[in-house]
């Protein structure tokens, strides 16, 4: 079956992949992990979670490792790890660009972004 291509990763998508890079997890464990590691800043609702997990399964970024009983466990696939690394690089570049702009602002006498509170 042809796999559905996935567009850009949203914040929720990125964190779900991040949670799964640390090992297999079921839905509740994924959201608990994200909440813990973002100090409660990112909370993912069940509707959002299962929609994203469904699209990840369609795109082959994750696989179901256990479907026995009521719990379904998910694991990240090779493709998922590649996509996660790609997104991480992109985000690092974004931060680096913003920081460079901050340095340039400081040289010109303007407030760098971290001081301006942006």
């Amino acid at each position: 079956m042809p796999r559905k291509a996935l567009g850009a990763l949203t914040e929720a998508m990125f964190y779900i992949l991040m949670a799964l890079t640390e090992g297999e997890k079921c839905g509740v464990e994924v959201t608990a992990w994200i909440e813990r590691h973002t100090s409660g800043r990112v909370r993912i609702g069940p509707g959002t979670l299962y929609t994203i997990l469904g699209s990840f399964l369609d795109a082959g970024l994750i696989t179901e490792t256990e479907t026995e009983g009521r719990r379904r466990t998910y694991a990240i696939s090779g493709e998922g790890e590649r996509r996660y690394a790609e997104e991480l690089t992109r985000l690092r570049q974004c931060v680096a660009d913003a920081e460079r702009r901050g340095d340039a602002c400081a040289e010109n006498g303007a407030l760098p972004i971290f001081q301006a509170g942006i």
Binding site: T10, A12, T31, R43, G47, T48, R70
Partner: protein, 227 residues
């Protein structure tokens, strides 16, 4: 045995936010939703409480039984309601869920996963509805064009149908417009769950008129058939 009551839901099921808001208001009045039967809702008397109702996209492509789906959402403090499923578009299946737990995380914490999906499917179903209506109207007009004089002159019983059918088409167009409006609200993330008694009253009048029209159209068709 809890007291059950069947009431007319003033909103079309495709109007997600309005239906959610109506169910929440019923809960505040101590009437809990049990299930939907077409345009009717079966409510059960209970303690008034603040409850959140939300539609959620149920996984249909994974051969999940309702029970497994229910347990999955129960882990998050949401109760998936049986017989509230609504088919929208090609593969969209939406089910109502509720929670009385204020600490339960909102069903959708982003608008990408629900809004875009639901909006697209609602829009498609509204377009399909409009196209079907347009085809029917065209056929109806053709019939009128070809034999209107004869029909009116010799078959006076056809007249009520000529009046009733366009009115029914208007009702269908209104339903399609409501569906499309919900789709726009979903896309713009401007869902409105506010309960407005005036609007509800207007909707009841509209639905009563629509029901009367349907009955009248069926009666007219029966009369024609008998004649």
């Amino acid at each position: 045995m809890p007291v059950r009551k069947t009431v007319l839901c003033p909103y079309f099921r495709q109007e997600f936010d309005r239906v959610e808001g109506w169910c929440e208001e019923m809960e505040r009045r101590g009437m809990r939703l049990v299930q939907f039967k077409g345009q009717f809702a079966v409510l059960e008397r209970g303690e008034p409480r603040e409850t959140r109702y939300r539609y959620c996209a149920v996984e249909t492509g994974m051969d999940e039984t309702f029970e497994r789906e229910r347990l999955k959402y129960a882990d998050f403090g949401w109760e998936l309601l049986y017989n509230t499923t609504l088919h929208v578009g090609h593969s969209g299946e939406y089910c109502l869920a509720r929670t009385a737990d204020p600490s339960a995380v909102e069903m959708y914490t982003d608008k990408e996963s629900f809004g875009a999906l639901a909006s697209k499917q609602l829009f498609i179903s509204a377009v399909v509805l409009v196209v079907l209506i347009a085809i029917d109207v065209f056929r109806f007009l053709r019939v009128c064009q070809v034999g209107l004089t004869g029909l009116v002159e010799y078959e006076r019983r056809v007249l009520p149908l000529l009046i009733l059918l366009p009115l029914l088409f208007c009702c269908l167009i209104y339903t399609a417009l409501c569906t499309q409006r919900t789709s726009r609200r979903l896309e713009a993330d401007t869902l409105d769950r506010e309960y407005d008694p005036k609007e509800v009253r207007k909707r009841y009048i509209f639905l009563a008129c629509e029901g009367a029209l349907i009955i009248a159209a069926i009666a007219a068709l029966l009369l024609l058939w008998l004649a």
